[in-house]
């Protein structure tokens, strides 16, 4: 997928301004403060929002795991089967061990379980999987599950993930940092330093390297 010169307007404000990007294989992580245009970017890629200018060339089979969704009184298995696509649902249901959940009413599941079902759906349906805040509302065990499976799958699938959890940087192959609708950094996780994050989030950020794993904290 290639994006060139993208400009997106929502109402009166220009949310995305001259955004250009090419995505690599593996895990592409988009970071940025609230309102930097991450969700708008994802929605424009899938065709929900029409851009003002620019071009998006998508060849891959897209799927989406949303941050917000409605929970109808439908069985979890029907949620997975909803829509027009055929996916490798069984493979991923087994991988995440959610067989007991399938016959239950989706609206009665915990928010973590609901997220898992939608992540499984997205993994099964697409080759380029877009995930909007996949770790929010999940406990540390479920977060580990998702991060591990995404890492395991990055040979076969391509990922485009937004996150507020800066630690996901540790697993990313390509990091994109957005600010006010523009790309302010694109590249390796090593290049994401304290100066960059402090200016983007407008708050002092400290980067701590421990055992080859980076943590971030404000101070």
């Amino acid at each position: 997928m290639i994006i060139k010169g993208l400009k997106v307007k929502l109402g009166k404000s220009l949310i995305i301004n001259d955004f250009s990007l090419s995505f690599t294989k593996g895990i592409n992580l988009i970071l940025g403060p609230n309102g930097s245009g991450k969700t708008t970017l994802l929605r424009t890629i899938i065709g929900m929002i029409k851009p003002l200018e620019g071009e998006i060339k998508v060849e891959e089979n897209l799927s989406f795991a949303p941050a917000e969704f409605y929970s109808p009184n439908i069985k979890a298995k029907d949620v997975i089967l909803a829509g027009k696509k055929k996916g490798e649902y069984e493979k991923f249901v087994k991988m995440f061990n959610v067989n007991e959940l399938l016959d239950r009413d989706f609206s009665t599941l915990s928010s973590g379980e609901k997220r898992m079902i939608l992540v499984i759906k997205a993994l099964a349906e697409g080759d380029l999987i877009i995930m909007d805040e996949p770790l929010s509302n999940l406990d540390i065990a479920n977060r580990k599950k998702i991060i591990e499976s995404i890492s395991k799958l990055k040979e076969e699938k391509q990922f485009l993930i937004t996150s507020h959890e800066l630690e996901v940087i540790n697993f990313a192959d390509n990091v994109i940092v957005m600010r006010k609708g523009k790309v302010v950094y694109q590249g390796d996780k090593e290049g994401v330093n304290e100066e960059l994050l402090s200016s983007v989030y407008e708050v002092p950020v400290k980067k701590i390297n421990y055992d080859g794993y980076v943590f971030f904290r404000t101070y």
Binding site: M48, F64, P72, I74, K84, D105
Partner: protein
């Protein structure tokens, strides 16, 4: 004490009981509908009708009974689909303003009589004008309800319904004296199913078959639109276009129903609610909403058409039937909202 406990356990028993209960109740309601009405018939008159009973049975009773079931199918399936599309368990063609808008259009079409149009031509214009006003009312209500919580559309619908009902009332007062062949206010605002002849039955049958088949065919797409607009786009499903398509279809169907039977409320909310206890997916709803809707509409119509001696308007009956169920929906919504915030 022991009996009461057993009864309570039985009543909250598994959902499959629901499925079979309505499969049995439907033919029961059909037979009761044939027997009870303004003229009470007995079994021999149904099986071997002659003379005036033959006319009553074939020209009035059978069309009325079958139409009531078909109208029940159409309104309840409309409710199920609107609830899916608008992600809201409280909408139906009554609350969405569709029915009131349709009634206004139907009554407005009588206005054409004032321009010396023969009464018999009205049957062609009426559904068209009713469809236009029904769609207009629906769009206004949905527009009001879009950016808000689950209650915004209900409030919007109440306001829109009041406006159109009041306009309908005013028009009827003006016309009543000059054109006594126009059905009265209670017919329009509170509903009444009494069908003479088979023309309407044929149209209702075609609409029912079409509606059920479409709902079943698009059931997986409808499920997905209900869950997430974003995922829908990745399936090459355009949720906006789906909404417009189904809203127009629901407006068309309900405008027609209102022009022959007036405003019948509440069936569209409560039937999908009951059917959802079996299974909330559109595949299941497209079968069980019609089944349960036809049964409940038929029983309501039996009560309406003189079971207790006098004719009672339909919406009065369905409102009473629906009130405990609507209360339970509201309680559930409040519980959920308290937990989420």
């Amino acid at each position: 004490m022991f009996k009461a406990k057993k009864f309570i356990i039985w009543i909250s028993y598994p959902i499959f009981v629901l499925k079979y209960i309505f499969a049995i109740l439907l033919p029961v309601s059909f037979i009761l509908g044939l027997l009870y009405g303004e003229v009470k018939l007995n079994f021999s008159q149904i099986l071997h009708p002659n003379g005036v009973y033959s006319i009553i049975l074939f020209d009035i009773r059978l069309p009325t009974v079958i139409s009531a079931m078909l109208i029940g199918i159409l309104i309840s399936l409309s409710g199920a689909i609107l609830q899916h599309l608008l992600k809201n368990p409280l909408v139906d063609p009554y609350i969405s303003g569709t029915a009131s808008g349709g009634a206004f259009g139907a009554v407005l079409s009588y206005f054409l009589l004032a321009f010396n149009l023969p009464f018999s031509w009205l049957v062609y214009f009426q559904p068209l004008i009713a469809f236009i006003t029904a769609t207009l009312a629906t769009l206004i209500t949905v527009g009001i309800g879009r950016k808000g919580n689950v209650y915004s559309i209900v409030v919007g619908g109440i306001v829109v319904s009041y406006i159109f009902s009041s306009l309908t009332t005013i028009l009827l007062i003006i016309f009543q004296e000059k054109y006594p062949q126009i059905p009265p206010l209670t017919f329009w605002l509170l509903g009444e199913i009494e069908i003479v002849g088979w023309k309407d039955v044929i149209i209702l049958s075609l609409l029912s078959v079409l509606f059920i088949l479409l709902a079943f065919k698009f059931s997986r797409a409808l499920d997905l639109v209900s869950i997430s607009d974003e995922i829908s786009y990745t399936h090459k499903i355009n949720p906006g276009r789906q909404r417009i398509f189904w809203l127009l279809l629901v407006s068309l169907i309900n405008a027609y129903i209102v022009s022959i039977a007036g405003i019948i409320g509440f069936i569209g909310i409560i039937v999908p609610h009951i059917a959802r206890r079996i299974d909330g997916s559109m595949r299941s709803l497209s079968i069980y909403s019609p089944l349960i809707g036809a049964t409940i509409m038929e029983f309501s119509n039996i009560v309406s058409r003189g079971l207790f001696g006098t004719i009672i308007p339909l919406t009065a009956i369905t409102a009473l039937l629906a009130s405990p169920i609507i209360l339970s929906i509201l309680v559930k919504i409040n519980d959920n909202q308290r937990v989420e915030s």
